[in-house]
Symmetry: C2
Subunit: 227 residues, 2 copies
């Protein structure tokens, strides 16, 4: 295969969110090249000339995590002339939602260190990456109210308590257990899977799954989901 050409003033950066140990976390890399050697940064890279824009973050994500077909959302494009010190680079920011259980840590060709960090503990990053990260988090928090993307952070089968925990982690609010369950069940976007938890040392919870058909039908009728 011929060498592919990168568009060298045009990049993508990814904020990879995952839900783990009751917290919303994101995946960062530790830079091993100048500039900003040793600083944390968002995983990113340049877009190939013959590659669709959305294919670039997909490719980067696959390289880093081994995951395919994960949920990706475009956040925005950042293009101040001085945002990258070496030359003019415009970047498109995406966020991904992954099920941490499915994830298998990889180390790419460049032997990057990877770190999952809770979203309220992210360090000072390279370049303008803190700004990019905040934009992604804000976008996620807005989306979550009107769209059921949060299911991308959960395994296929989940309890209502787990669902509530994810919502609480993302929105940074607490919800009342009874009201939360009423709202979710009334919306019909989840359905009983018939399964229950196993290997828990207390009463096993019922497991539900996301009902995408019911959700789409709801949207077509002009209703919106909201938590």
């Amino acid at each position: 295969m011929a060498e592919r050409i990168e568009i060298d003033n045009f990049s993508i950066d990814c904020v990879i969110f995952g839900f783990d140990e009751g917290k919303l976390k994101a995946l960062f890399i530790k830079r091993n090249t100048e500039p900003d050697f040793g600083r944390m940064a968002l995983p990113g890279g340049f877009v190939y000339l013959d590659e669709d824009l959305e294919a670039a973050p997909m490719r980067r994500l696959y390289d880093l995590t081994g995951l395919k077909n994960i949920f990706l959302q475009q956040v925005g494009t950042f293009g101040k002339t001085d945002r990258y010190p070496l030359r003019r680079v415009i970047t498109v920011v995406y966020y991904a939602l992954v099920r941490v259980a499915d994830y298998s840590m990889r180390v790419g060709d460049d032997a990057l260190e990877l770190h999952w960090i809770p979203v309220n503990e992210v360090p000072q990053m390279a370049f303008d990456h803190n700004e990019l990260f905040e934009a992604a988090l804000t976008n996620l928090q807005e989306q979550v109210h009107t769209t059921p993307i949060i299911f991308n952070l959960l395994p296929k089968f989940f309890s209502l308590s787990e669902l509530q925990e994810v919502y609480e982690a993302v929105t940074m609010q607490k919800f009342d257990k009874r009201n939360f369950r009423k709202k979710i069940l009334k919306s019909t976007i989840v359905k009983d899977s018939g399964k229950v938890q196993s290997n828990v040392d207390h009463r096993a919870a019922k497991l539900y799954k996301f009902d995408i058909a019911a959700y789409n039908k709801m949207l077509r009728k002009g209703l919106f989901f909201s938590v």
Copy 2:
């Protein structure tokens, strides 16, 4: 001044919205070069290497309309490899909201024809511009529910009926007059200007103005505006 360098695989396109004759319209150009000669298209252009990203749509808008400091919102970035026939071009879409009364039609260097067209009558456009336009319109319709950007479409002083008309044009819904007025006045985001309409052949309406200070205070208290 030295010739400025364009990044020739990176452009911006603008959807310029205005409110006129009770309708939401947008400004289109008729292409006078190949490819797609004679087709309607969104006004756009390439980004200069030494120009901040947001400066590019501002510049284009000034060239076309003579307006500065107008409201601009980034919608998204489109980058399929085949979206532009001549070569790989990634484009960032913005929309602008203008007061049509302030607008003075200009014809640029390239003697482009400009047309204001109601948003439900837009023709088949060049390239993927219909898709870009739909993305902008959808974004505007979503924003309008949570943010008072719609005031950018109105003159400084406006009646509540005019405000209602704009909301109806943008959201494509009808509102009840009494309920609408209650909601707007309760929100405190408009205040009485003391003025009234003149040159109308019926009872003159009170004129209001947008109260940005009250709006910001409202946001800080964690409330959201919604129509």
